[in-house]
C-alpha cells in the first residue's frame, strides 16, 4: 500500500499550512477531523485510499460506497468493506445514526439531489464531513467574466458538456443552506493550494471542508 503522509500541520513562515494526505489537502483535513475508534462511512470512496488510511492510523470501523466496479474491487482487495452502489442507494436502509461520520469528498456537486444527500448523511451519521470545490473562487469568476463562457479553471477543468459537476456551489451557498436547514456547522476549513486560509474564503478558497452536525 502506498500511503504517504505529509502531515506537517504548521509551517516555518507561521502561516497555517495544509499537509497532504495521499496527495490531497482535503484528505489531510478529514484525517485530522475524524477521531479514533469511530465509525465512518465514505460516500464515493474510490479505491478506499482514505478509508484504508483511517483504519490504519485512527482505528476506525470503515465502510465505503463506490459506483465504479473496478474501484470497488480494488477497495475490497485492500481489505476495506466497500460496496458497489450509487450514493443514494448507499445511504438507504441504514438505521439512523449508524455512523459517527459520513464523508462526502468532492462529490456533492456531482449528485443529482444534493440536499437530499446531505439530509440522509445527517440521518445515518451523527456528523457529516463535506468537502467541495468552491465555485466562488476568484479564478472561476474571472474566467467567466473575461471569457463569457462557462468557466474553466484548475478546479473546474471540464468543458461544459463533459463536466460531471451538475450542481455548482460556493462557500457562501453552503453557509446559507446550513442556516436555512438548521445544520450546525461545527468546523469549517478553507484551503488554497497548500495553505489554510480564513480571509474572504468565498473568494480565495479552492476547496472547503465543512464538519456539520444536526
Amino acid at each position: 500500500m502506498s500511503l504517504v503522509l505529509d502531515n506537517s500541520p504548521k509551517t516555518s513562515q507561521g502561516k497555517p499550512f495544509v499537509g497532504e494526505l495521499l496527495g490531497r489537502g482535503d484528505f489531510a483535513i478529514i484525517g485530522e477531523i475524524v477521531e479514533r475508534n469511530t465509525r465512518v462511512l465514505d460516500l464515493g470512496c474510490g479505491e478506499a485510499e482514505l478509508l484504508a488510511w483511517l483504519i490504519e492510523h485512527q482505528n476506525v470501523e470503515a465502510r465505503g460506497v463506490e459506483i465504479s466496479p473496478a474501484k470497488v474491487r480494488r477497495a475490497i482487495s485492500r481489505g476495506v468493506s466497500a460496496y458497489q452502489g450509487d450514493i443514494d442507494e448507499g445511504l438507504a436502509d441504514y438505521p439512523d445514526r449508524a455512523f459517527d461520520y459520513v464523508i462526502l469528498s468532492q462529490t456533492l456537486q456531482e449528485t443529482r439531489s444534493p440536499l437530499k444527500v446531505l439530509n440522509e448523511m445527517l440521518r445515518v451519521g451523527k456528523k457529516a464531513i463535506v468537502a467541495f470545490p468552491n465555485f466562488g473562487h476568484w479564478t472561476v469568476r474571472a474566467s467567466m467574466l473575461f471569457s463569457g463562457q462557462a468557466p474553466r479553471t484548475k478546479l473546474f477543468p471540464y468543458k461544459w458538456y463533459e463536466s460531471p459537476n451538475i450542481h455548482f456551489l460556493t462557500v457562501n451557498d453552503f453557509e446559507e443552506l446550513a442556516v436555512e436547514q438548521g445544520f450546525n456547522v461545527e468546523r469549517r476549513v478553507f484551503i488554497s493550494g497548500k495553505q489554510r486560509i480564513s480571509f474572504l474564503p468565498n473568494l480565495f478558497a479552492e476547496v472547503a471542508v465543512f464538519l456539520v452536525g444536526k
Partner: protein, 376 residues
C-alpha cells in the same frame, strides 16, 4: 498436492423436519495446516453437485478438486496461510450420508425413506464436524451457489462461530424461477420408469431422467453469451443438417455428453433431496431474525453480471438486509460472460477481492488475539 478424503462419523443428528438420522457420516478433506491458536480455519461449502474434494489432486481419482483454481498455495484461499476444510453435504452421494447410504435398520439403501433435509441440516452437520476438529471459530465460511446459501445459513445459525462470510453467486431465498428449474429436474428423474419410486440401487438407475435433469441444469449455469461463444450454431462432426433427430448441433452434443457423464458420478435420489433443500431455503422469511447484534462477522458478497440463475439483485437483497442491521459488508458485482458458472471458471477478479478481504480480516483477528493475550 495429493489429497485424501476422510470420514467423520456421528452417532446421531436431529433434523429440522423432526426426523432423526443415525448414524451420520461426513466425507471431508483438509488442506494446509491449522495454526496453534486454531484461528486460521476456513470452511469451504460446495455447490449443488460438488463434493468434499475441493482442491489438490485426489489420491484415487487423480482429478483436481472442483475449486482448485481458488484453493492452494498462493491462491485466493492460500493453503500456506490458512487451514481449509471442505465436506460433502448431508443428503449427498460422495461419502456423506444420503439416500444412497445403507439404512442400518433395514440393511438396504434408504432411497425415499431418507428424511427430507434442509440447508440448515447440512450446516448443522458441518458444525458437528468443525466442533470435532476442535475449532471454536472459523476465520471464514465461503461458497458459491448452494455453497453460498450454506455460508449465509452459518451466519444465521452460528454467528459467534464465523468471522467472515463469503456468499458468492447466491441468494438468501430460493425464487420461483429457481424452484421451477429444480422441479423440472425432479420431474424428469421421477418420470423415468427406472426411478421406480427411488428403489433402484440393485437395478438399472434412472439414467435418462437424471441426464435430462443435468442438461437443464447446465443450460442455467451458462449464459446466452457464453453459449453463443462456445457453440454458436456450429454443427457437430458434419457440414450439413442430418434431417433426423440425431445430434446436429455442437450444443446438443455438449449437453448430451454432460448429462451422460453426470450419471456416472451422481445419485438421482440425492438430486431430489438436495434440490428440495435448496427450494426450502428462505432466510428472509422470518428466520433471519437471529441474534446478530454485536457479532464481529464481516460479509463479502459477490455476484456476477451475467448470472441469470442467481441474478445480482438477489445478492443486492442480501446486502440491503445486512445494511439494515448495520453489519460489516463488502459487495461487488463482477463482470463476467460466463453466467452462473463464473464463480468456478472466471476467478481472476474473484481471487483479488477474496484474498485481500481475507488477509485484512486475518490480520485484524491476529491483532485482537495478541491484545487479548497481552491484556494485564
Amino acid at each position: 498436492m495429493i489429497v485424501d478424503t476422510q470420514v467423520a462419523r456421528f452417532e446421531t443428528i436431529s433434523l429440522e423436519s423432526g426426523a432423526i438420522l443415525s448414524p451420520a457420516e461426513v466425507a471431508f478433506e483438509t488442506y494446509g495446516t491449522l495454526n496453534p491458536s486454531r484461528s486460521n480455519a476456513i470452511l469451504i461449502l460446495h455447490a449443488f453437485s460438488g463434493d468434499a474434494h475441493a482442491a489438490g489432486i485426489g489420491r484415487d481419482s487423480g482429478k483436481p478438486g472442483w475449486w482448485d483454481s481458488m484453493i492452494g498455495p498462493g491462491k485466493a484461499f492460500d493453503t500456506d496461510e490458512y487451514f481449509i476444510i471442505c465436506s460433502n453435504v448431508l443428503g449427498g452421494c460422495q461419502g456423506t450420508t444420503g439416500p444412497s447410504s445403507i439404512n442400518p435398520e433395514t440393511g438396504v439403501p434408504y432411497g425415499m425413506s431418507f428424511p427430507v433435509i434442509t440447508i440448515g441440516d447440512m450446516v448443522k452437520l458441518q458444525k458437528m464436524l468443525v466442533d470435532s476438529l476442535g475449532i471454536a471459530k472459523l476465520l471464514a465460511v465461503a461458497g458459491g451457489s448452494m455453497g453460498g446459501m450454506q455460508a449465509l445459513q452459518w451466519a444465521a445459525a452460528y454467528p459467534e462461530m464465523v468471522r467472515t462470510v463469503i456468499p458468492i453467486a447466491t441468494t438468501a431465498r430460493h425464487s420461483a424461477q429457481q424452484i421451477a428449474f429444480n422441479e423440472v429436474a425432479r420431474q424428469s428423474i421421477m418420470a423415468d420408469p427406472d426411478w421406480n419410486g427411488g428403489d433402484y440401487y440393485d437395478k438399472q438407475p434412472p439414467a435418462r431422467g437424471l441426464a435430462i435433469a443435468r442438461m437443464v441444469g447446465h443450460i442455467t449455469y451458462m449464459s446466452d453469451e457464453s453459449m453463443r461463444e462456445k457453440f454458436g450454431r456450429r454443427l457437430r462432426d458434419k457440414d450439413k443438417f442430418g434431417f433426423d433427430f440425431e445430434v446436429d448441433f455442437e450444443v446438443e452434443s455438449y449437453l448430451r455428453y454432460r448429462g451422460k457423464q453426470f450419471v456416472n458420478r451422481f445419485d438421482a435420489n440425492s438430486y431430489l433431496y438436495i434440490t428440495k433443500a435448496e427450494d426450502y431455503f428462505d432466510l428472509l422469511g422470518g428466520t433471519w431474525q437471529f441474534a446478530f447484534e454485536g457479532a464481529d462477522t464481516r460479509f463479502l458478497v459477490i455476484s456476477f453480471t451475467s448470472d441469470w440463475l442467481y441474478p445480482s439483485y438477489q445478492s443486492q437483497e442480501i446486502v440491503r438486509v445486512l445494511r439494515r442491521r448495520n453489519l460489516d459488508i463488502a459487495y461487488c458485482d463482477l463482470q463476467s460472460n460466463y453466467g452462473h458458472d463464473a464463480f468456478l471458471v472466471d476467478v481472476a477478479e474473484q481471487t483479488d477481492v477474496v484474498r485481500g478481504f481475507l488477509a485484512s480480516t486475518y490480520k485484524a483477528s491476529k491483532k485482537e488475539q495478541s491484545e487479548v493475550v497481552t491484556r494485564p
